[in-house]
């Protein structure tokens, strides 16, 4: 088999795979899960950028920001908003994307609210971690008047209101240690004086009962009281691994956000605007592509036809890659695709112009193709490397801030440039070589090459 045949087979296989991934129904491919992710500007939603309060003079580390980020994530997930993503950005920013959220009544407030950690008397019941509970602790942080509130455990089963023994602000220190013969991982804690008194009284009266640890009304752990804790020091046992113990310790320690955050930026895109932009830019792309196809085929004839096939393959492969990674598609991202399509065409045009020169110089079609490519390659290589350099700088710019639109653009541009060079290098060249070999005496039909 000639090298060309092997290449063509590889191309066909690759294209078949790409088209399979592109199909709307495909959700599994070689262990990956292809999906189309639309950015906020196309589907509507809200983006918030939170910043460490500039008035906050205390020190904080990157770890603090990470902890705050995961707390925000679990809180907004609790709101029922799907596909929330929070990302840290730079040293003091957290960028939150909340797709589909457009009525923003409480979202920002909930994000800003400090987490509430409670130690809850479960009235003898074991509560699975993750269970949502109601407690007699008001959202304002004050204990509801017991005369007005319902007595613990007397409500109907679905609406049990549990008694809050103590809140997280009474915790002094939390750590992870190992103890006992089995070297078991446990969480140790010490309490502030007030908390120690409350805790002593409660644990003494409730040995063998459960004491649930509840963060933002959600049970995170439900240890059993094994003995009265009178010294204000205790441990929580519970089949922990080092990781799960550390995670719980972090939640105990930072039940409220470790650092004060303020809203620095809010963007809301209505869903109609997003859909409208998406439809229109797709239409624009289609119209542009048809014009370009006509031009290429009329001007370059046979090579133009090969180029259009290469560009279509480029499109199929790029889209498949976007679905596999997955790359979030935004309006600037679509613009990036449009431009890398231009770049893909440029590589073809550079090649064809060189080919024509060689044909005019009297070479055979096959020679002209090989020589033309050899001559065009240095321009294609250098100009595309320059484009990659620029997209790398754009990417850096976009990641340092909430300028995520710039980032989206650079990612699609860079991917597009890679695939476009590949398309010109393998697809156009091999297809054209195949076409030329299929024509008898191609040199007698120079018109087919646009001469």
């Amino acid at each position: 088999m000639s090298r060309r045949t092997i290449y063509l087979i590889v191309i066909v296989v690759l294209l078949a795979a790409a088209i399979f991934v592109d199909l709307p129904g495909t959700d599994k491919f070689l262990g990956m899960e292809p999906k189309t992710v639309l950015g906020l500007d196309l589907r509507g939603g809200m983006q918030v950028i939170l910043q460490v309060d500039p008035n906050y003079t205390g020190e904080f580390t990157a770890e603090d920001i990470d902890v705050a980020k995961s707390i925000l994530e679990s809180r907004t997930n609790g709101l029922g908003v799907t596909e929330v993503s929070f990302q840290t950005s730079g040293e003091r920013y957290i960028v939150g994307d909340l797709p589909g959220v457009t009525s923003t009544e409480d979202v920002v407030d909930i994000i800003k609210q400090t987490g509430q950690l409670e130690f809850v008397d479960t009235a003898g019941v074991y509560l699975e971690p993750g269970t949502e509970v109601k407690t007699d602790l008001g959202s304002t942080g004050e204990v509801i008047d017991p005369l007005v509130g319902t007595l613990p455990g007397t409500e109907t089963q679905t609406e049990t209101i549990y008694h809050t023994v103590m809140t997280g602000d009474q915790l002094d220190e939390v750590g992870v240690t190992r103890q006992g013969m089995l070297n078991e991982v446990v969480i140790s804690f010490t309490l502030k004086p007030d908390g120690a008194k409350t805790f002593a009284a409660h644990t003494a009266a409730n040995v063998n009962n459960y004491l649930a640890i509840v963060l933002d009304k959600k049970v995170i752990s439900c240890p059993q009281i094994q003995s009265a804790i009178t010294e204000g020091e205790g441990i929580i046992q519970g089949n922990f691994t080092t990781e799960s113990a550390n995670a719980l310790a972090v939640q105990l320690r930072y039940g409220s956000l470790p650092i004060p955050l303020v809203v620095e930026q809010v963007r809301v895109i209505g869903p109609t605007l997003g859909q409208d932009s998406l439809d229109k830019s797709l239409l624009a792309f289609l119209i542009g592509f048809i014009i370009v196809t006509l031009f290429m085929v009329i001007y370059y004839r046979l090579p133009g036809f090969a180029a259009i096939l290469a560009i279509l393959s480029y499109g199929a492969i790029t889209f498949a890659i976007f679905k596999l990674i997955p790359v979030t598609l935004t309006l600037p991202g679509i613009a990036g695709i449009l431009l890398s399509t231009g770049s893909a065409l440029d590589a073809n045009i550079l090649l064809f112009e060189r080919m024509k020169e060689e044909l005019r110089a009297g070479r055979t079609a096959q020679e002209a193709l090989n020589l033309g490519w050899k001559r065009a390659w240095s321009s294609i290589r250098d100009s595309n490397i320059a484009a990659l350099l620029t997209s790398a700088i754009l990417f850096w710019f976009g990641s340092t801030f909430g300028a995520s639109i710039v980032k989206g653009f650079s990612v699609t541009l860079a991917l597009g440039v890679f695939v476009s060079v590949f398309a010109a290098y393998f697809i156009t060249r091999n297809l054209l070589s195949l076409f030329v070999s299929l024509i008898r005496d191609p040199e007698k039909h120079l018109g087919w090459f646009g001469l």
């Binding site: 963007r267 613009a335 440029d346 710039v406």
Partner: protein, 322 residues
């Protein structure tokens, strides 16, 4: 053969004629920076029934919450009715009745007021942006840095890629001169667009600018690459002839790539791509055109100007007298 280089000073003049008016507008009115770069809020509200509050009503709502410097624009919505209000104001983080209010909460209050003034129950928010002052100034600084780094990277890359050619660094510097030309053209356009069509310089604009730089480099490299190749083959030709020859050889590619394909794509985007992308597309359209133009009429001619050290003749014999 077409003699492009012989008329180089006419082309330099043409570029100046295009750039200078824009620069004057820029000097007088400044760049129309969007909230991304200067902070503040941008609220777009749609009144489907068409009962749009007047500018005075809007301004008085904002004044109630303690904001001045509010500008109001109407925009064309569906069915060709001017039923969209675009309101620009300072950062909406404020204190209302002694309670600190985040921008989103303030916006909700304002929208509620707008709704009651209009009486249109269907009123909804199309888009809302609120950018605090710290992040805005950081983004602006970083943007300038990004452009500077992009240009530096290009000089270095060209110097390396052309290391076999005499005076490789000249190619890099001439590319930078031409790219500065493209940046100035785009800035002029933005300043004029800002003055006459209410355009705003936002992150999308920055994206367009950086793309123009990236593709402008591609163009320059294609022309320079031909000069590089020809300087091996046509060593006997005077440099000016050689460069002119290289320009002519790449002209067809430049026209086909830029005018026939990329520009058509962008034109389609500008005409059919919806409001959000129109400004972006127009800036790219002009910027990329300028990029192609400057490869042929600025970058390559400057190489010749440098090679023949023409600046010695620019001021006639006056330099000798002085």
């Amino acid at each position: 053969m077409l003699n492009i280089l012989g008329k180089r000073y006419y082309f330099f003049l043409l570029s100046l004629l295009l750039i200078v008016p824009g620069m004057i507008v820029l000097a007088i009115y400044g760049l129309p920076l969007a909230v991304d770069f200067k902070g503040g809020s941008l609220l777009e509200v749609v009144f489907p029934a068409g009962k749009v509050p007047t500018t005075e009503e809007v301004v008085s709502i904002y004044t109630n919450y303690g904001f001045d410097n509010v500008t109001v624009q109407t925009a064309l919505g569906e069915n060709d009715v001017h039923n969209i209000l675009i309101i620009r104001s300072p950062d909406l983080t404020t204190t209302i009745n002694g309670v600190e209010s985040n921008p989103d909460a303030t916006k909700n209050l304002i929208v509620a007021d707008l709704k009651s003034v209009s009486g249109d129950a269907e009123t909804y928010v199309n888009s809302f942006q609120n950018v605090g002052p710290t992040i805005a100034s950081q983004v602006a600084n970083r943007a300038v840095l990004a452009i500077a780094i992009a240009m530096l990277a290009v000089v270095i890359y060209i110097a390396i890629a052309f290391r076999g050619v005499p005076h490789a660094i000249r190619y890099g510097i001439c590319a930078i001169i031409a790219m500065t030309h493209d940046i100035l053209i785009v800035l002029s356009l933005a300043a004029i667009g800002g003055k006459f069509f209410g355009w705003q310089v936002d992150s999308l604009f920055l994206t367009a600018m950086l793309t123009v730089i990236g593709f402008s480099v591609q163009d320059k490299i294609v022309v320079f690459d031909r000069i590089r190749e020809n300087s091996g083959v046509l060593r006997r030709l005077p440099f000016e002839k050689l460069v002119n020859h290289s320009i002519i050889q790449t002209l067809q590619r430049s026209i086909n790539t830029q005018l026939m394909t990329v520009e058509f794509m962008l034109l389609a985007l500008a005409l059919f791509g919806g409001v959000t992308l129109r400004e972006f597309a127009v800036i790219l359209l002009v910027g990329l055109l300028s990029g192609t133009y400057s490869s042929i009429f600025i970058a390559a001619p400057f190489l010749v100007v440098w090679e023949t050290k023409e600046w010695k003749n620019w001021f006639g014999k006056r330099t000798v007298e002085a």
